[in-house]
Symmetry: D3
Subunit: 146 residues, 6 copies
C-alpha cells in the first residue's frame, strides 16, 4: 500500500531570515509617551533585529514527486514577496504592506501572511502558519483570520 | 485595509528558563523500587536540569499598540509566579504547587499552567500552551484541561 | 487538588536523529529529467543528511508515575523501528518501508508514522505528530491520515 | 592534591546579546558609491541585527570561591559599559566609542574590547577575547592588539 | 600529494552532556555568608544543570584510518571516566574527584581534565581542551596547567 | 584615537554548510574488515551528513571599509572552491581533492584548507582555521601544517 493515500495531509515548513530596522511608536504621541508605552523599542533613532521566519504550508503530497510543494519554489516566493521587501530595510519607512501600521511582530506576521497567502494558494497548497521570531525569547505565530 | 481585523487571533510566545534540582520517586517505594521504576532519575541525592519554558498566549492584537500583550508584562508574570518559585530551587522540596506531586516534566508543565492561567486571563488574553523542555531530547506540552 | 485530573491530555516529545544517504528520482525518468524535476537532489551518486526527528505522543499522565509514557520506552521503540532501519543507511536501497517510494521528506515522515503508530498505541498513548527536519531550513510534519 | 594549583589558568566566558540598528557607509561617498562598496548594508534608512556577544576572560581560580571571576560581576560590567550603550540603539549615531568609525562588526568588536579591557583588569583577570556574531553566518573575534 | 603529511596536527572534539545537582558553598560559612558570596547558587537544598561538555584532543591523523582518534573510543572514555560519575549525580556528594572541592564550573572543568588527560595520552593523542557549559550564558575552558 | 591601529589583528568567520554522501573504508579491506575498523560508517551503500563549515581568516581591518575582508567575497570563494564540489555530492566518488583519500572529517578539513588557503592569501588575509562539524557531537579543526 503506497504511503500517500487519498486525503493524506502533510505540513512543510521553510525557514528564512531577514535583518531589518524598526521602531515601535505612534506618530501622534510624544517621544515621552512612546517611551512609556513601548519602552526602549520606541527609540526614535531606530534599532533592529535578525528576524527568523518559518512559513508552513499544508497539502497532499504529489505522488509523482513525493512533494507537497517544491520547497525551492516556496523559498522563491518568500524571497520575492517578503525578503526583498524586508531584508536590510527599515520596516516603518520602506515596506509597502506595513505603511501606516505599527511595526510590531504581530502586525509583521499578519502582513507576511497577507503577502504570501494568495500566491501559495495558486500552487495548490494552503498557507498554514507564519511563525516570526524577533529575538530568541519573543515569537509570534499567525494562522490566518479564521 | 488595516492588518488587524475583527477576530484576528494571534499567538505570542515568551521563552524563559530556570535551573532546578529534582528527583523522581514515590515515598512509599524503597530506593530499589524507585530505581526500577524511575531509573537514574530516582537518585536520592538529587540531580538537576536547565529547564527551557515557552509560554504561549493568544488574543487579538490591540490596534493601539499592535500587541496581543506586552511580552515584557508576560515575562514579569512568569518571573513572579514561576521562576521565583523554581529557579535554583529543589522542585520536590521547595515549590508550593508541586508539594505532594511527582516531579515529572508532565506534572511541572500542568503546575505552571495552573499558576499562570488565571493571571494571564486577567490581561485579556488566553493561555494557549506551556512547553517545557527538560533536556534537548525530552519535551512536554500542555494545552489545558479541555 | 491533584495536578492530574480525569481527561488531562499532555503531549510529550522525544527528539532523535539519524544520518542517511538518499536521492530523489523516478526510475522511469532519464538523469536529465530527474535533474530538471528534483534538481541537485537527484544526483545518481547520492547525497545525505543528518535528519532530526521529533516524535510526539499524547495521553493522560499515569498518576503512579507522573508520566504520559516513559520517554526511555518511547526512545527504545524509535530506536528499534526507525533508527535501526535508517541510521547510516541508504534510504532508497535499504529501508523496507520506503521500497518503491520516492525518498522525499514527506514520504519518510509518513513512513515513520506507519512504523510507530501501532506500537505506540499498544502502550496506551496516541501518536500525535512526526516532525522530520532534513536541513535546518526544511521541515515536514505529519499528524496521521485524519 | 587540590584541583587549583599555582599558575592554573582557566578561561570563562559570558554570553550576552543586544539589538541595534546600523548602516555601513562612508559619509564622503555618494549613496551609489556606498552601495557599490557596502552592498545592501549601506541602506541610508538603516537596518539592524540581534548581536550575540561572548566575552572571555582568563585568570587563576580563587581557591576561596572556585571562581576565576564571578560571572555575575562580569555580566554587570558588560551591561554597564556595553549593553547600555548599544542595546536598542543606533550604532552610528548614539554609541560614544563608535563615533567617527565605520560600524563594521570588526570595529564594534575592537570598540567593545577597549571598553571592557581596563575594567576587567581591575578585577584581577585578563580580557582574552571578544567574539561578536552579527548573524548566524558572520562572526568576528578580537584578542587585543598584541 | 597525500592530505596527511608529517607533523599535520588536527584537533577533534566530542560533545557530550550530563545532568547533575550541585550547590556552591563553603562548609565553614553560615547559610547567610554563603548566600552573600554565592547568591542563589548556594541554596542548601540544591539546584542543577544540563552541563554540555566538549572534549578536544589533538594529534596527527593515522594514514590507515584518516582518524586522529576514533571518536567512538573518545566517547567511551568520557562515558566511563566522566559521565558515569557525574550524570544524574550530586556533584558535591557523589563525585570522587570533586570531594573537598568547591563545585564551581572552573573546578569541574579542571577535574574532568585530570580524569581524562592520562587516558587520552595512552591513545597516542594529547588532550587539548575541556569546554564546559553550565548554562547557555556561562562557559568555562581549561587547556591544562601549562 | 581610531579603533584600528597598526598591527590590529582581527579574526572573521564565515559559516556555510553542505549535504553529502560518503563512506569510510579501505578498498583493500573486505566489507567485514571495514565494518570492524569503521563501524556503521563503512556501509557500502553510503550514508550522509549535513556538514557545517566555519572558515576563519585573520588580518588587519582595512580602514577604508572597516573589514578584514568582505565576508561576501569569502563566502563566494567557499562557494566556488568547496561547496560546488561537495554539496549534494558523493565525497568518495566525485570530489577531486578527496580522490584516493579516506573520507574522514579530518581529511576533509585538511582538503578544504588546501583548496582555500592559496586563494584567501591572494585577498591579503591569512587562513586561520577550518572547523568542520559532521554531526552535532563530532567536530574537527585544522589550523594548517605549522
Amino acid at each position: 500500500m503506497p504511503l500517500i493515500k487519498l486525503g493524506t495531509m502533510v505540513y512543510i515548513t521553510r525557514k528564512e531570515h531577514f535583518n531589518s530596522a524598526h521602531r515601535l511608536f505612534r506618530p501622534e504621541y510624544s517621544d515621552e509617551e512612546n517611551l512609556r508605552v513601548f519602552g526602549k523599542c520606541s527609540n526614535p533613532l531606530w534599532h533592529g533585529h535578525n528576524y527568523i521566519l518559518h512559513v508552513t504550508v499544508k497539502g497532499e503530497p504529489n505522488p509523482a514527486t513525493g512533494f507537497v510543494m517544491d520547497l525551492k519554489t516556496l523559498s522563491n516566493l518568500i524571497q520575492e514577496k517578503v525578503l526583498e521587501k524586508l531584508d536590510h530595510k527599515n520596516i516603518n519607512l520602506e515596506v509597502d504592506f506595513m505603511k501606516g501600521e505599527l511595526a510590531s511582530t504581530e502586525n509583521l506576521a499578519i502582513g507576511i501572511w497577507e503577502e504570501l497567502e494568495p500566491l501559495v494558494r495558486l500552487h495548490g497548497v494552503l498557507l498554514h502558519a507564519i511563525r516570526l521570531q524577533e529575538t530568541e525569547n519573543n515569537i509570534v505565530e499567525y494562522f490566518g483570520n479564521k
